[in-house]
Amino acid sequence: MIPVLLLFIPLVAGILGFFIKEQKAASNWAIVASVVTLLTAVIGIYAMPASMHQFEASWLPSIGASFSVALDGMSKMLVLLTAISMPLIFIATRNNNYSKPGVFYALMLLAQSGLMGVFISMDALLFYFFWELALIPVYFLSSIWGGEKRIAVTFKFFIYTFVGSLLMLVGILYVYIHTKDHSFAWSSFTNTDLLSGQETLPFFLFFIAFAIKMPIFPLHTWQPDAYEQAPTATTMVLSGVMVKMGLFAAIRWVLPLFPMATKTFAMPIVILSVIGMIYASLIAIKQDDIKRLIAYSSIAHIGLMAAAIFAGGTLGLQGVQVQMFNHGINVIGLWILANAIESTLGTRKLSELGGLATKAPTMAILFVVLAFANIALPLTNAFIGEFLLFNGLFQFNIWIAAAAGVSIILGAIYTLQMVQKVFFGELSAVTANATEINSYSKWVLIVIVIAVIALGVYPQPLIDLTKDSVNALLVIK
């Protein structure tokens, strides 16, 4: 029952949200709804018996599709991430004003509902459904409230990902035809007897969809533009939670479905991911726009996770699980800061900023902590993830891990460069009148920073949460 609630609370709240006209009211409504979702998620996951974590209802019996949702370790974690992110985002951006606020928050809630659906569905068709559904609200959010080039950029993003998901649909169809009982259930999907030659094509159909979503080099070019142009709250959803869809889906659907093809193509994919990591890191060094910089940094981080997924192994897979959560909250923190800078100073250009630490010391401290989390300093949450990820990669291939390791250094270069250009040095014309970060954002960031450090010091809860799904995965392989 819990997963159903998680799906429908934001959905219903979103639909109702369309009718709210006033900014504060809409914001309050969204916050309340998302907090209720969060409470449901937390209580449901930690206080309810496992029998409440599953729900199955007949949907389209004639073609073997059912409304089957469940919470296992991996989905619990991503559900938590989704549930936590939304209130954080709503509170942090509470000072942003939108035209038609009701619609804005409603669409955000709908996106949340879609994301929840992606993470909890155990039926391929249902999964595909939510996969698309999460995209539509984001399309509208970005196109209506985005930056200058929003329409073209969002459109590109939309079509790009849509191409991927359509290919995935073909893949789903293909596997469906080959299931023994003609069913879309995850269990049937993992139980087909595809020959190794038959796996290749559907493997790539799935993989391309997820690779675009993650994104893996060279399918990433939609991402920096989309992140840059989307309204920051949406960018947070996009990079904090939505890119995890690709990673999640790769683990949930690609690995168990196509074990042989995964093995066969692991090497090229891992290499591609690692190239992407280094490539994105190098480009990030040259970025002048904070949002684009964070975007490329995110590509680099996701590249590592993608590589670890296909490299396989307990450590790597566990690392991906942990890191999905960690990267989610860290990057949301970074976006909140980017938003704060942009909204108070009206620019995101590194070259126009400087010396902000004098004017906004609190913001500086929060930023520095998150920046170091971004480069996976030990005792921040990202370290745990990256440690495990690199470990997994190392077990797969030493040289690739070493090459990927270069991104650790490059990451330090661009992150510190950003910190330095924004906060250190003399004040610039733009920052001369800067003010401290607003208190909504501040408190959200403080929560995030506490989480960053707490999970960095004691990551075990996160690991234990996802342990079962990793083990299950290894059994299947």
């Binding site: 949907w59 389209l60 073609i63 459904f129 698309e132 169809l173």
Partner: protein
């Protein structure tokens, strides 16, 4: 038989109603009620409550599938009339006659859903086509309408000639027009072991002419011009209900022949599907007029429907065909209903519609989403079913990949309209819009979404 008889009678009724009254509202209402009567009659036959008992000598065979299709077609017509009947009366002075012609077309639809033999196919196709030539040209002083009508007529007649030649050759090879399973064409083909040359030539010609009717490439050329030139209300009708009926006829003719005709068939169908999807989708991209864009999009949608043909006889494809007909008709009728209310059919004419007429914009958006096959709308399941059917029938995966890639292209042009409505500034001029119209639009949108969540709502009726 009910549908055929009642629709013909209703046509006559409409003809006479034009004599007794000139009040357009009354005529309109009679027509709307008439469709309901037609629907009721059809439902009665479906549920074995009442039907005309006529010995058709196996020329017409009513099956649940065809009757169900009739329901969809008549239901779509009902929605069409609710949304656009008042616009039909505005096209010209002969309001009653237009409705009469629409009912005659519905008679053709009913024949096409139940014919059993090439003779009835031919007659059905003609009953379907001839009123359309007239409806296309009904805006008499509009040169575009004239041109469309003439083009449609000439090319339609030509394709009739081709079809008849095909039928003649098939007859020559088998000595039979019938489609009754063992003793008809199929039996003759099976008996011949290897399909006779004449038969194949005939089938190809028949295939070409049926492709023409459903505007499948490379026989689609009339479609953009005719849909563009015809009065928008009739384009809406032609491109939905009529096209779906044509597609059904196409499938019914070939579903029994395919399996025995050998693998080469698939090459030709592949060719038709790919070229239809390609031309429809690619050409639509750069259209500036939304109406013409929808014309190309209807070609593209036909390409998808052809998958149901490709998947001949699989259960899922047959269901998909019905779902596709319903989804596509609903969406297109609704988008055309919105289009008709706009003065400017160009893409810029839609700019800022969401601000001025949010309901229209919303309904149009749902329709466009459905046309592009986004989940949660009926269009998704429609596409899904036909593709699944094709795959189940052992279809080539590459064909389906091509199809979905081109579906992604279709998103490009459908979403340009959404962009214009929601993200661009403008002041679109609209005709007066009534509250009822808006309510109806919302209802249609809701219906699209319901079908998109739970297609069984429609399909399960097929089996009760």
């Amino acid at each position: 038989m009910n549908a055929i008889i009642v629709s013909a009678l209703l046509g006559v009724v409409m003809m006479f109603s034009g004599i007794f009254t000139t009040n357009k509202t009354i005529i309109k209402n009679i027509a709307t009620v008439g469709v309901l009567v037609l629907l009721a009659a059809n439902l009665m036959e479906m549920n074995n409550l009442f039907s005309f008992d006529i010995n058709t000598h196996d020329l017409i065979v009513t099956q649940r599938y065809g009757l169900f299709f009739n329901c969809i077609a008549f239901g779509a017509t009902f929605i069409y009339l609710v949304l656009s009947a008042s616009d039909i009366t505005e096209v010209g002075v002969n309001a009653a006659e237009y409705f009469a012609l629409i009912f005659f077309v519905l008679c053709g639809v009913a024949i096409l859903s139940s014919f059993n033999g090439l003779l009835m196919l031919f007659i059905g196709v003609e009953i379907l086509s001839i009123p359309l030539y007239i409806l296309t040209g009904s805006d008499k002083r509009n040169l575009k309408s004239n041109e469309a009508s003439l083009k449609y007529f000439l090319m339609g007649s030509f394709s009739t000639g081709v079809m008849l030649m095909g039928i003649a050759l098939m007859y020559g090879a088998t000595g039979n027009f019938g489609m009754v399973h063992s003793s008809g064409l199929r039996g003759a083909i099976i008996a011949a072991q290897q399909p006779p040359y004449l038969l194949v030539a005939g089938v190809i010609l028949l295939f070409a002419s049926m492709s023409f009717k459903v505007s499948a490439a490379p026989f689609h050329f009339w479609t953009p011009d005719v849909y563009d030139g015809a009065p928008s209300v009739f384009t809406s009708f032609m491109s939905t209900i009529v096209k779906a009926a044509g597609m059904l006829a196409f499938i019914r003719v070939f579903e029994n022949l395919f399996t025995v005709l050998g693998p080469t068939w698939h090459i030709i169908v592949d060719f038709a599907i790919v070229s239809t999807l390609l031309i429809g989708n690619i050409t639509a991209v750069f259209q500036q007029s939304v109406k013409r864009m929808l014309a190309y999009s209807s070609i593209a949608q036909a390409g998808f429907m052809l998958f149901a043909l490709y998947a001949n006889n699989t259960e899922i494809a047959k269901e998909g065909m019905l779902l596709y007909a319903a989804a596509y008709s609903l969406a297109t009728i609704s988008i055309f209903a919105v289009l008709i209310k706009l003065q400017d059919y160009s893409l810029d004419g839609f700019n800022g519609l969401a601000k001025k007429e949010p309901v229209l914009a919303f309904a149009a958006t749902v329709s466009l989403l459905s046309l592009s096959g986004i989940p949660l709308t009926a269009g998704f399941f429609a596409k899904y079913y036909v593709l699944a059917g094709a795959l189940q029938a052992g279809g080539a995966l590459w064909l389906i990949i091509v199809a979905v890639l081109l579906a992604a292209v279709s998103v490009y042009y459908y979403f340009r309209v959404i962009q214009a409505m929601y993200f661009k500034e403008g002041d679109p001029q609209t005709l007066p819009i009534s509250g009822g119209f808006k309510a109806a639009l919302i209802a249609v949108a809701a219906f699209i979404v319901i079908l998109g969540i739970w297609p069984s709502a429609l399909l399960s009726w097929l089996y009760f």
